[in-house]
C-alpha cells in the first residue's frame, strides 16, 4: 500500500480523500492555491503545499507544478478528485511518467471513454442502446451542421465533444436558435477544453438521468454497485441525487448494471467509473456517457452499500484485488444527497460569496455531511459553488426524505446566500415526493420556491429587536460618556475646593 498520497484537488472532495487516506494509515498531502491557505482541506491534511495563485489555470490546473510537488514531498500516488485534472489523460500520463500512480483509470481509458464519440462507438459494440446523435468537428460549415440537426430533429442538445459536467452544453428547442447556439457552444468548448468540436444529440422526452457505479481492478474483476438517480438538475448541473431510483426495479437494475459492467470490461477499464444513461418513461434506456472518475454523488452509493469508494479506489490503484464479488454487493435502505451550493435563490441562483459567520452542520442518526467549509471561512468566487454535500439515509425513501427535511431545517449557515431554501422546497414538493419526475422537473416546476418565505416574519421581528438592542447599547454608551464627563467636572471642582 502507498505510504503517501498527494491530493490534487480542493474543497469537499479533497477532504473526502484525506479522510480515506487517514483511515488507511496513509499520509495525505494536499496542494493549495493562495486562496485556499486556510481551507478545511489544508487544515485536515497531514501535509499541505502551495502551488500558486488563486485562478485554477495558475494552480490546480498546472500539471507540472502538481507533479513536481508530489515528487518533492515523496508521494507515491496522486488522487485527482473530480473536475480539475481528473479527466485529463495527459495528466494521468505525466503522473505515471513521473514514477507515481494515478488513482483512476489508465490514461488511454480517460482519453477514449472521455471522448463522447469513441465512448458511443464502444457502447454500440457492446450492444448498449445509445441516444441518437452525431459528432460535429469544429471547422465544418454551419449549413452542414443544420442539416445534421434537422435529421436528428428538435429539441436537441449541443455538447462539447471533450467536455463534461454540463459545461458548454446547450439545449435548442427550435431550428432558428440553432446557428447562434452552435457558435457559442463551439467557442465555449474551445475555451474550456481546447477543442471546439461539438456533439449533437437528440433530446429525449422527459427522460430520467440514471447512472451506474462500476468498479474494476487490475485482475480482471469488474462489478457494478447499482444506480444513482440524478434527474434533479438545473442548467444540467445535478442538485439532488439518490440511490436507489424509484424508476429502477430489480430487473432494470440488472440490465443497466450488466450493460455498464460489460462496457467497462470491454474497455479494459480500471478503478471507479460511472456509466450514465437516460431512461425514458417506458423504461427504455440509452447510453449517455462515461465519467472516468469519482462522482460528486458517490456517497449515496456508499450509504446503501456500506462500501468506501475512495478507499476502494486507492486499493485498486495499489494493485489490490476487489475484496468482494458482484454477488456480495448488498443494497440496504435509501440514500439522498443534496448539494449545498453558495447560490442565491433570490438572484436566479447566481453564485454568492462572503464570510460564513455561523456554520453548524446537521448531525445525528443517518446524516452524513461531506463539506469543505467551516465557521469563519471566506467563500470566494474563484472556484465552483459547492460548499457541502448533505447525505441522508433511511430504511426507505420516505424515511430518507423525512431525515433530509429534518437535516435541512437543522443546518445553520448564515452570512452568505445558499440554495438550502431551494432544497427545502424540493423535498417538500408533492410531485418530487411521489417520485414522478424527470430531468425536466425543475423546468416544469419553475414556481417551486414560490411562497417559501417562511423566515420573513422572523426576520422582521429579529431586525426590529436588533435595532432596539443597538439603540440600548448606544444609549448605554452615551450614559457612560455623560457619567464620565460628570466625574471629570466633579474632580475639577474637588480640586478647586482643595485650593
Amino acid at each position: 500500500m502507498f505510504k503517501k498520497i498527494l491530493v490534487a484537488n480542493r474543497g469537499e472532495i479533497a477532504v473526502r480523500v484525506i479522510r480515506a487516506c487517514r483511515e488507511l494509515g496513509i499520509t495525505s498531502a494536499v496542494v493549495f492555491s493562495e486562496a485556499d491557505r486556510k481551507s478545511l482541506a489544508v487544515r485536515l491534511a497531514d501535509e499541505a503545499y502551495p502551488i500558486g495563485a488563486p485562478p485554477v489555470k495558475e494552480s490546480y490546473l498546472v500539471a507540472e507544478k502538481i507533479i513536481e510537488m508530489a515528487k518533492k514531498c515523496g508521494a507515491e500516488a496522486i488522487h485527482p478528485g473530480y473536475g480539475l485534472l481528473s479527466e485529463n489523460s495527459a495528466f494521468a500520463q505525466q503522473v505515471q511518467q513521473g514514477g507515481m500512480v494515478f488513482i483512476g483509470p489508465k490514461a488511454a481509458d480517460i482519453r477514449i471513454l472521455g471522448d463522447k464519440v469513441e465512448a458511443r462507438r464502444l457502447a454500440k459494440e457492446a450492444g448498449i442502446p445509445i441516444v441518437p446523435g452525431v459528432e460535429f468537428p469544429s471547422g465544418r460549415s454551419e449549413a452542414d451542421a443544420l442539416g445534421e440537426a434537422e435529421k436528428l430533429g428538435f429539441p436537441l442538445l449541443i455538447k462539447a465533444k471533450a467536455g463534461g459536467g454540463g459545461k458548454g452544453m446547450r439545449q435548442i428547442e427550435r431550428k432558428e436558435d440553432f446557428p447562434s447556439a452552435l457558435k457559442l457552444a463551439s467557442s465555449e468548448a474551445r475555451s474550456y477544453f481546447g477543442d471546439g468540436s461539438v456533439y449533437l444529440e437528440k433530446y429525449l422526452h422527459r427522460p430520467r438521468h440514471i447512472e451506474i457505479q462500476v468498479l474494476a481492478d487490475a485482475h480482471g474483476n469488474c462489478i457494478h454497485l447499482g444506480e444513482r438517480e440524478c434527474s434533479i438538475q438545473r442548467r444540467h448541473q445535478k442538485l439532488l441525487e439518490e440511490s436507489p431510483s424509484v424508476a429502477v426495479d430489480a430487473s432494470l437494475r440488472q440490465k443497466l448494471g450488466g450493460a455498464a459492467a460489460a462496457l467497462a470490461q470491454k474497455a479494459g477499464y480500471l478503478n471507479a467509473g460511472t456509466v450514465e444513461f437516460l431512461v425514458d418513461e417506458k423504461k427504455n434506456f440509452y447510453f449517455l456517457e462515461v465519467n472516468t472518475r469519482l462522482q460528486v454523488e458517490h456517497p449515496v452509493t456508499e450509504m446503501v452499500t456500506g462500501l468506501d469508494l475512495v478507499a476502494l479506489q486507492i486499493k485498486i490503484a495499489a494493485g489490490e484485488r476487489l475484496p468482494f464479488a458482484q454477488g456480495d454487493v448488498k443494497w440496504n435502505g435509501w440514500a439522498i444527497e443534496c448539494r449545498i451550493n453558495a447560490e442565491d435563490p433570490a438572484q436566479n441562483f447566481f453564485p454568492s460569496s462572503g464570510k460564513i459567520d455561523v456554520y453548524r452542520e446537521p448531525a445525528g442518526p443517518g446524516v452524513r455531511v461531506d463539506s469543505g467549509v467551516y465557521q469563519g471561512w471566506e467563500v470566494g468566487l474563484f472556484y465552483d459553488s459547492l460548499l457541502a454535500k448533505l447525505i441522508c439515509w433511511g430504511p426507505d425513501r420516505a424515511g430518507a426524505l423525512a431525515r433530509m427535511r429534518r437535516a435541512l431545517e437543522e443546518f445553520r449557515l448564515f452570512g452568505i446566500a445558499t440554495n438550502i431554501p431551494f432544497h427545502k422546497a424540493l423535498v417538500n414538493h408533492p410531485r418530487f415526493f411521489s417520485g414522478d419526475f424527470s430531468t425536466f422537473f425543475l423546468e416544469e416546476e419553475k414556481g417551486i420556491m414560490d411562497g417559501s418565505e417562511a423566515g420573513l416574519e422572523v426576520a422582521l421581528i429579529g431586525s426590529v429587536l436588533y435595532k432596539e438592542l443597538k439603540r440600548g447599547e448606544s444609549r448605554l454608551r452615551q450614559a457612560a460618556a455623560t457619567l464620565a464627563s460628570q466625574w471629570k467636572g466633579e474632580a475639577r471642582r474637588a480640586a478647586l475646593r482643595q485650593w
Binding site: 459545461k167 474550456y192 442548467r235 442565491d344 435563490p345 433570490a346 438572484q347 436566479n348 441562483f349 447566481f350 453564485p351 454568492s352 460569496s353 459567520d357 455561523v358 468566487l381 465552483d384 459553488s385 435541512l408 431545517e409 443546518f411 445553520r412 449557515l413 448564515f414 452570512g415 446566500a417 445558499t418 438550502i420 431554501p421 427545502k424 417559501s452 418565505e453 417562511a454 423566515g455 420573513l456 416574519e457 422572523v458 426576520a459 422582521l460 421581528i461 429579529g462 431586525s463 426590529v464 429587536l465 436588533y466 435595532k467 432596539e468 438592542l469
Partner: protein, 170 residues
C-alpha cells in the same frame, strides 16, 4: 409604550410594534402580539430568538440598504426605519417605498456576454436585460419591475465588478 418600526422587503411594507414592560418584551405584527426573548449567541450578529416559545436562530448584519437578515436558511435584505423617520421621509416627499428599483446591478463579478435591451425600450418584470458569464456559467439578469431603459452603462465582453450599475431606468 409601543414603539413602531416600518420595514420593507421585496417592495412590500410591514409594520412591527415593540413594547417593553418590565423584563418582558413583546412585538406586534399584523395585529398579533407575541412575547419575545432575544439572546446573542456570540460576538457577531447571531441570535437565538423565542417568539411565544417558538425557537429560531437568526443573524443580523448591517447592509448598505438596511439590514441583511438570515432566518430559516433564507436571506432577507430589509429596510428598517423608526416610524418617526419613516413619516418624516414621507412628509418630505421621499416616496412610499425607500428604495424603488431604478437600476440593474451586477450580482457578482463577471463578464457581460450579451445586452438584450436598447435605450428607450420599455421592459416588463422578468424580461431579460443582459447575459453575464460568471463562475463558468452564463446567467441572465432580468428586470425586477417595469421601466424604461435610460442608459446602458456596459458593453458586450466588458468585465464588471459585483454591484456595478449595468443599466439605469427612467
Amino acid at each position: 409604550m409601543v414603539k413602531v418600526y416600518h420595514l420593507e422587503f421585496g417592495g412590500q411594507s410591514y409594520e412591527v410594534g415593540v413594547e417593553k414592560a418590565g423584563s418582558k418584551t413583546s412585538v406586534t405584527v399584523d395585529g398579533k402580539k407575541r412575547f419575545v426573548d432575544l439572546a446573542r449567541l456570540n460576538g457577531s450578529g447571531a441570535f437565538s430568538i423565542l417568539l411565544d416559545g417558538r425557537s429560531f436562530d437568526l443573524e443580523v448584519k448591517e447592509s448598505e440598504k438596511g439590514l441583511l437578515v438570515f432566518a430559516l436558511g433564507q436571506q432577507f435584505d430589509l429596510i428598517v426605519e423608526e416610524e418617526r423617520a419613516y413619516r418624516a421621509r414621507l412628509a418630505s416627499g421621499g416616496g412610499k417605498t425607500a428604495a424603488r428599483e431604478k437600476e440593474a446591478r451586477a450580482p457578482m463579478p463577471g463578464l457581460i456576454v450579451k445586452i438584450e435591451v436598447a435605450v428607450g425600450q420599455v421592459v416588463e418584470p422578468g424580461q431579460g436585460l443582459l447575459i453575464m458569464e460568471a463562475m463558468k456559467m452564463e446567467n441572465e439578469i432580468k428586470a425586477k419591475g417595469t421601466g424604461k431603459v435610460k442608459e446602458i452603462k456596459v458593453a458586450e465582453r466588458q468585465p464588471v465588478e459585483q454591484n456595478q450599475v449595468l443599466i439605469t431606468f427612467e
